[in-house]
């Protein structure tokens, strides 16, 4: 414990470092400047700014802003990057809630209830609870990293391809549970998503699959492109349908309080707590852990709720839980990087890039060799979360006011921002066209009462599932029993089976009731 405090002390010492600024006009006097705090603040602000642009998700934001940190000292650069990361992530949630455009996979779930809340005039409380939940989760996860970082690393290493495959199966089951309508249609959407995820080059042979010689399809469909189409553009097109006007005016008149009420807080508190725990654990797993965390948290809340039918119709827990979970996961996903020097996901890989350009290549010894860097970063995560709360609570008012802009002006603006956003990620005009095509597809899905969220999750999990299945089978030389003989994998499979039964039971029961009803009549 003593170690912990001295370590955290070291970290906060780094974060609260002051630099003496002695400009000429002060004639020899100098002003102390908390340089790292300032960098963290700028990072969080810029990250939020870019993150709220629809079409630009977390990875794209960090990748775009990475070069601006190259000119800074290493610790400052990393602290600023951490700020950008949290800012971008929070920015992504903001667009999910306000305009139903998830910036990344983990905020797809936030959009489900967040956007419904916004439609009911409760965007303010939704945004605020997301910020509060994230902050709480961030605090817990910071302490967790400091205390349990090293032992938790073992978990990350124990996860081989077989375990990942089982985890992805579990993830798909979550995706079924989260659907609000017909289970059959939800499963069909997941499979549709899985099928879409097959587009691109095959990992093992490099063969082009269903890419029709379009170079932009050679690496598969981008998440942002599809999400933007299915959620963003489709929502706009649907809103333009005749008869939509009444709906929209209603939203603008209904805007009630900006902050969550006491009841909102009471409802969200346990959800935030559970989301934090789930997120912290799943976040450690490289590759997909954080995505699964957010919808595992949502599924858990829906299952525990006394009235599951509220979910998908603006339940505040449906925002609080996944937002806390994805922030906790975002934080704990640093663990493998800090203890092993191995980047667990694309954002972390960019962080490693940032370190490398400063001549620091993180490895298993980074904690011993660069304690001020590691602990400075851990402390800066907490500060970053605090900054987000400070930046975002006042911004809630501004965001909500944006909703009052007449829709006839709002929608062309969203279209333009989405186009620029998608284009700027890869500088590829084809991506913009693809997003448009998915917009039409999304419109069609809405008309046939298919939900886009399971589709998107299927698309995200598809490649992870297929690749790990194939890796596992390659390593085991085709022996499929590995999924049930390795203890971790077997337990994940057991949980999946249990959840599947749980998910199917209500619909089976309903079917039975229907049968009875029909036979009676």
């Amino acid at each position: 414990m003593g170690d912990l405090f001295s370590n955290l002390g070291l970290g906060f010492g780094v974060v609260f470092q002051f630099v003496q600024w002695a400009p000429a006009f002060l004639h020899g006097m100098s002003i102390p400047i908390p340089i790292n705090i300032l960098l963290c603040l700028i990072g969080a602000l810029v990250g939020t700014l870019v993150g709220v642009l629809p079409g630009i998700g977390t990875i794209a934001t960090v990748a775009m802003l990475l070069p601006i940190t190259f000119g800074l000292p290493p610790v400052g650069a990393l602290i600023m990057l951490a700020g950008i990361y949290y800012g971008a992530q929070y920015g992504g949630s903001t667009t999910s809630i306000l305009v139903n455009i998830p910036g990344e996979a983990s905020s797809v779930v936030t959009a489900l209830d967040g956007f419904q809340m916004a439609k009911q005039g409760r965007a303010g409380p939704a945004l605020a609870i997301a910020a509060i939940g994230s902050f709480f989760a961030g605090c817990v996860a910071t302490v967790l990293i400091a205390v349990l970082g090293a032992p938790l690393t073992k978990l990350a290493l124990a996860f081989g391809p077989a375990e990942y495959f089982s985890l992805m199966v579990l993830g798909l089951i979550f995706a079924v549970v989260l659907a609000k309508g017909s289970v059959l249609k939800a499963i069909a959407m997941i499979v549709f998503g899985l099928l879409l995820s097959m587009v691109g080059s095959d990992i093992e042979t490099g063969a082009a699959r269903m890419s029709f010689n379009v170079p932009e399809l050679a690496d598969g469909l981008g998440f942002a492109t599809v999400a933007m189409g299915l959620f963003g553009f489709a929502e706009i097109i649907r809103n333009l349908d005749a008869g939509g006007e009444g709906d929209r005016d209603l939203v603008q008149e209904k805007v009630t309080g900006l902050m969550p009420t006491r009841k909102d807080m009471m409802d969200s508190a346990p959800a935030i707590l559970r989301g934090t725990v789930l997120g912290s654990i799943l976040g450690i797993l490289p590759g997909g852990g954080a995505v699964i965390a957010s919808f595992a948290a949502y599924t858990l809340e829906k299952k525990l709720s006394k009235d599951p039918s509220r979910f998908g119709r603006g339940a505040i827990e449906g925002v609080a839980a996944p937002e806390s979970a994805n922030n906790a996961a975002a934080q704990t996903s640093f663990i493998p990087l800090l203890t092993l020097g191995i980047p667990p996901n694309a954002v972390m890989a960019l962080m490693v890039g940032a370190m490398t350009i400063h001549g620091i290549v993180p490895g298993p010894q980074v904690m011993q060799k660069q304690p001020e860097l590691v602990w400075g970063m851990i402390a800066s995560m907490w500060v970053g979360n605090l900054m987000l709360l400070i930046i975002n609570l006042p911004l809630v008012g501004i965001w909500v006011r944006l909703l009052r802009v007449p829709y006839r002006l709002m929608f062309p603006s969203i279209v333009i921002f989405c186009c620029i956003g998608i284009y700027s990620v890869n500088n590829a005009p084809m991506d913009v066209v693809l997003a448009g095509i998915f917009g039409l597809l999304g419109y069609w899905l809405i008309k046939h009462d298919f939900e886009p969220a399971p589709l998107l999750l299927g698309m995200v999990l598809g490649p992870l599932m297929e690749e790990n299945l194939r890796r596992a089978l390659l390593i085991s030389r085709g022996d499929a029993t590995v999924f049930f003989t390795r203890p971790l994998s077997a337990s994940l499979m057991a949980i999946s089976a249990f959840l599947l039964v749980l998910a199917l039971l209500p619909s089976l029961r309903k079917k039975r009731d229907e049968v009875f009803v029909e036979s009676e009549s």
Binding site: A188, D202, D241, P406, H448, F450, L473
Partner: protein
């Protein structure tokens, strides 16, 4: 300039035995998509001994979607369900056109031109648009983007048409 739906599917056009047209046709389309995917991945290699080929997983999911789509069709045919929804043409058309025009013009014409053009095209998507107001907002938005992306975010987006740059 009224926003008339392109077609109003009445019960009369559809065979009477389809009780839930929305699901029936939804399922039908999924079946079509699945068949298309199966065709598109037919040239890929299948299983090679114990290891998956490039085509194994796409075919697996394709068949699964085929089955599910068919199941949805059957359910749609035999259980009472909602009618086909009414599609509007104006919104989808102009929003798609705006997106397409942006994609086509961004490289040769630069961001300022293409953003402004797409904004105006998208605005055609609703009859509520008031042109003076839309034009002013469009100009402000384009100017804002022209400042935001290259200066505040340092993105190397080309602003002006390519031929002015050379």
């Amino acid at each position: 300039m009224s926003d008339a739906p392109s077609h109003v599917p009445g019960e009369s056009i559809l065979p009477g035995w389809i009780k839930g047209p929305q699901d029936f046709f939804g399922g039908l389309a999924l079946v079509a998509i699945a068949l298309f995917a199966l065709w598109a991945s037919s040239d890929l290699q299948g299983m090679r001994g114990f290891s998956f080929g490039a085509g194994t997983a796409p075919r697996m999911f394709g068949v699964l979607l085929l089955v599910l789509g068919f199941a949805i069709m059957v359910v749609g045919a035999f259980t009472e369900g909602p009618k086909l929804a009414v599609y509007a043409w104006r919104g989808p058309l102009f929003v798609s056109l705006a997106i397409l025009s942006f994609a086509v013009s961004i490289r040769p014409m630069g961001m300022i031109f293409s953003a402004m053009a797409s904004f105006m095209i998208a605005a055609l998507g609703t009859h509520e648009t008031q042109w003076k107001e839309t034009f002013i907002v469009g100009v402000c938005l384009t100017a804002g983007c022209a400042l935001l992306f290259p200066y505040a975010l340092g993105l190397p987006l080309q602003m002006l048409p390519a031929f002015l740059n050379r």
